[in-house]
Assembly symmetry: C2
Homo-oligomer: 244 residues x 2
């Protein structure tokens, strides 16, 4: 335990109000943004010291994080960063995504007049960022900020569909999914190479919304299955690289 995990600026930002939720957000950002090694110990006292708070709100935040699956807990042994998505778990994650997102798409398609405009805006943003990704230097450095921005606009399309379903239960479940998807993207280096295909498939979903709920659900199912195929391919390529 050498240096602190959090930047000094973060500590000053939380001042002295609403500690528990703010600690949760900070730890969540820390887990999402920087790629933390799996299995890293998340010491309650250390986090509390770094954030200048008492261990109690940190403990509450970690309990909340535990239910998201980002951290694991062993009794009397403390919290650790959850292990990366295993291969079989990755298939299960995509299965769950297909079930949830195609279902949410069918529900959201019941009110297309309010859904389509916001999705058009989201897809326009997605397209803009995609073009910037395409125009970035083909090989070599890709700004991490651009990658983060791309992931945000990409997922925003899916998130808006969950919101469009107007179902609090499915919305809660979408959060559980989004954290896993985000974490998967840290381990499996994909999601930027298929930007053009993603935009195309999102467009297909949006067009299918004007046809029927079933068509929209089917389009979403096909989109996620294609993402699954690309992830399989990238995971295999990545495995062969590390094995070299």
């Amino acid at each position: 335990m050498a240096e602190t995990i959090f930047s000094p600026a973060a500590t000053t930002s939380l001042e002295r109000r609403g500690l528990r939720d703010r600690v949760y957000d900070l730890v969540l950002d820390m887990l999402m943004s920087s790629s933390i090694e799996a299995g890293t110990r998340l010491s309650i006292d250390a986090i509390a010291r770094d954030l200048n708070v008492s261990p109690t709100p940190v403990r509450e935040a970690l309990v909340q994080l535990e239910r998201t699956g980002l951290v694991t807990r062993e009794a009397h042994k403390g919290y650790r960063v959850a292990p990366p998505i295993a291969d079989d778990q990755l298939e299960a994650l995509f299965d769950a995504r297909v079930v949830l997102e195609s279902g949410a798409t069918a529900l959201a398609a019941r009110t297309p007049e309010t859904l389509i405009p916001v999705l058009e805006d989201a897809l326009a943003d997605h397209t803009t960022v995609m073009e910037r990704v395409q125009n970035s230097p083909g090989s070599g450095e890709m700004p991490v900020e651009l990658i983060r921005e791309y992931f945000a606009v990409d997922w925003n399309f899916h998130h808006l569909i969950f919101e469009g379903a107007r179902n609090p239960f499915l919305l809660d479940m979408s959060e559980a999914i989004s954290t896993r998807v985000h974490r998967m993207r840290q381990t499996v280096k994909t999601g930027v190479s298929d930007a053009l295909e993603a935009v195309t498939e999102h467009r297909a979903v949006l067009d299918a919304l004007t046809v029927s709920p079933d068509a929209a659900a089917q389009a979403m199912r096909e989109h996620i299955d294609k993402v699954r195929e690309r992830s399989r391919r990238d995971a295999a390529r990545q495995a062969s690289n590390t094995a070299r």
Copy 2:
């Protein structure tokens, strides 16, 4: 705040090991079993005193409960028993059930050879308890223990399908659903009058499993939609009764 919520026997059972999970189980049982009035304050200190523990594990258990939706929290105002499922939320709950359970059924149907035997056993238990419910005195007292037993075997069928899907993400989500369903059954007095229909529809799902995953998913979807219809009817009848 007059008398204690918990029975004296409960306090002695937790002794002095693994407090947080045990407190969680106790509070969960308390919320599930006895029908607590919605909006009842869940005082951290009071629970801690009743259970002879410090407020810290109680606080952690309540954070965990909060994410299940059984309790609500307002900052600087404490925890309360979550309000009963509102009418629109009830429709949303059934929508979510249709999405999740039909999807889980399709996934579980991929391995029918391991799934069908356990479901046959579960359905046999369900049938047995159903007959006991039918033979109980038609009007008047229905033993609360029998009702609880019926709910258990009924939900067990659904739960086994979630387990059969072998998908940890969907399994987690099923817990979020089950708590809501159980709580709904406390407010809307249904689920015992349609025992025969429930068994019949479960049998239809089981038979469809031998046909194809899509057929099984469709059967589950129809089952939940029929439960939804019966709940609507019972809710309307109940509303007319209270309005009288």
